[in-house]
Symmetry: C2
Subunit: 111 residues, 2 copies
């Protein structure tokens, strides 16, 4: 699976299908991606603060994800650290209902 530089979103599986949702699902379906967006919801965090928020995940993978998220236009690096862009906040807003769903889910399936 050689990854050439495609015209669509670089390195994002499914981005060549012409179905943006596939590219988005692929990007979001990578480890820590959803979590990062979630942790940045209330404002920018420094790379190390983000790492703490993400349960001390490996800086290697956080850096990788942050780069992907920056290329996707969801995250930007400012003087205050990493923060969601306007687009990123829109994305976050789309899965805000997830939070309420998660609460219902946790009651449904025991625990």
């Amino acid at each position: 699976m050689a990854k050439q530089a495609p015209a669509a979103k670089p390195g994002i599986r499914g981005s060549r299908t012409g179905r943006p949702i596939m590219a988005l699902l692929d990007l979001l379906g990578r480890r820590w991606t959803l979590r990062i967006i979630w942790e940045l919801r209330e404002g920018p965090l420094t790379s190390r603060a983000l790492r703490s928020a993400c349960d001390e995940a490996s800086p290697t993978i956080l850096q990788t994800r942050l780069t992907e998220l920056r290329e996707a236009g969801f995250v930007e690096l400012t003087d205050d650290g990493y923060g969601l862009t306007a687009l990123g906040r829109e994305l976050f807003a789309t899965f805000t209902p997830l939070n309420r769903f998660a609460e219902r889910w946790s009651k449904h399936a025991g625990s």
Copy 2:
């Protein structure tokens, strides 16, 4: 495939934090999970039809994800194949806005 019954969600990172959203983000943030739910949106698929829909992903990992999704209560195996449960359809509904967002995002064109 033995149904273990720990306090939280078995094998789901963050399920012990008491924040269901973390468990859900972890589950959804695994490769093919979002995609599987997406592909089942219009009705049940057999395991092999699902595999085709998922770009011929490895049956090993699809089986793993399907088991996780079944344990989470999002997917069930019926006579027609794998399908979303009522809960699974609710979950799908929460990220339906993602589709529209993805369209906007693709026009925004990152990087």
